[in-house]
């Protein structure tokens, strides 16, 4: 009987072990979105400005345009045939499958927002996830008179004359340094030795 109990224990532990394995198999889950591009690849993509397109450079007759502004802004006005995917929903199954489908058919999706900054975040996320069929429309959009006004935009252009405001002073010299408070000590004047009485 002692032996029987020993074998029972062994079999119970084996069954438990197998159960753990089965649970492990069932709960095995892949992360939905995995970065396909490394940091270095992304950075080299940023160095070339291929990902920035002006509206008139699109040769395609029916380009796929994605609007990353909020739903309310989209409902006011948008580029014709644009699809609205707010930045917050860019990684949803629906949008990912849309862009993935475009990648499979070799089409490019053009992303725009209020300005290129807004489109940039969505684009960078998608690009790093391997959807390199996306580009940023280098435009600013304004809602004026119930119409969407789209203008090309000079990105990261410095203000031409900002050095002038300093006149001749170079900014480095103006760089603040903790000024020590110095209390000037007044020199005492030498007094001539006075005569005694």
């Amino acid at each position: 009987m002692k032996e029987l109990e020993k074998t029972k224990r062994i079999s119970i532990s084996t069954v438990l072990f197998i159960l753990v394995l089965v649970i492990g198999f069932l709960t095995f889950k892949q992360p939905r979105n995995v970065y396909k591009k490394t940091h270095e690849e992304t950075l080299s993509a940023l160095k070339s400005t291929d990902y920035l397109v002006h509206l008139e450079d699109i040769t395609n007759q029916h380009p796929v345009v994605i609007d990353v502004r909020s739903k309310s802004e989209y409902s006011k006005s948008h580029i014709e045939n644009a699809i609205n995917i707010p930045t917050a929903e860019i990684l949803d199954n629906k949008s990912i499958s849309l862009i993935g489908g475009l990648k499979n058919t070799g089409e490019t999706a053009f992303i725009y927002g209020k300005n290129p900054d807004e489109a940039n975040s969505a684009w960078m996320l998608l690009y790093q996830l391997g959807y390199d069929n996306t580009k940023i429309l280098n435009v600013v959009t304004d809602h004026i008179d119930n119409k969407l006004v789209v203008r090309n935009y000079a990105l990261e252009k410095p203000i031409a004359n900002y050095a002038e405001i300093f006149k001749t002073i170079t900014p480095e010299k103006v760089a603040p340094k903790p000024a020590k408070k110095v209390i000037p000590i007044k020199k005492k004047k030498k007094r001539k030795p006075e005569g005694g009485c």
């Binding site: 197998i18 892949q30 939905r32 410095p158 203000i159 900002y162 405001i165 603040p176 000590i185 006075e194």
Partner: protein, 216 residues
Amino acid sequence: MINRKLAKILSKRYIILASMLFIAALGLVLLPSYQKNENITAENLLAKVINPERYIISDVLADKIITNDPSIILIDVREVDEFTKYTLPNAINIPLSDILNEDYQGYLDQDRYNVILFSNENFKADQAWLLLNRLGYSNLHVLNGGINGWYHTILNPPKPTEDMPNEAYELYNFRRAAGLYFGVGIKAKERKVAKKVVKKIVPKQKKKKRKPEGGC
């Protein structure tokens, strides 16, 4: 009789259990290779991206610079020539193309200081911010509007019109004063000279001993 049967089943049970373990082991071989995101998942990164908390406005930054806040590091991600033309006081130049360079990681990958990235606008600084956040770095901020925004708010603020509330005037006065501090215009020059004069006094002059005066 019963004991024998039981023994038979028991011996078979071992084989069954062993084969199940074997199948499980085979299953491990067939599993697809596990893909994982390093540092931060895309979903978490998105949550950070849509949070505007990363932006610091120029008024706040000006205040921090003027009060010599020791907790901030300014990083200029523009190219070297733009950096040499004009930059914020005490800023460090790390061009965006070199942002992953190992020499600079000491500045970026730390949790003591608040790193403030800026370029001419938000665009490049945002890109740097996104790249560095994917590496899992913390305490990164972006100067809202960049240098151009800085110019339009601190260095050259728009004058408030008369119908604006008192706060607008207060803000304007603050910006004017901050502009002077950062060296705008001729007034700044005078101010600077005045400062220098104060500094020149630093060597304290010793009191000379007076000659003994004649007593009575």
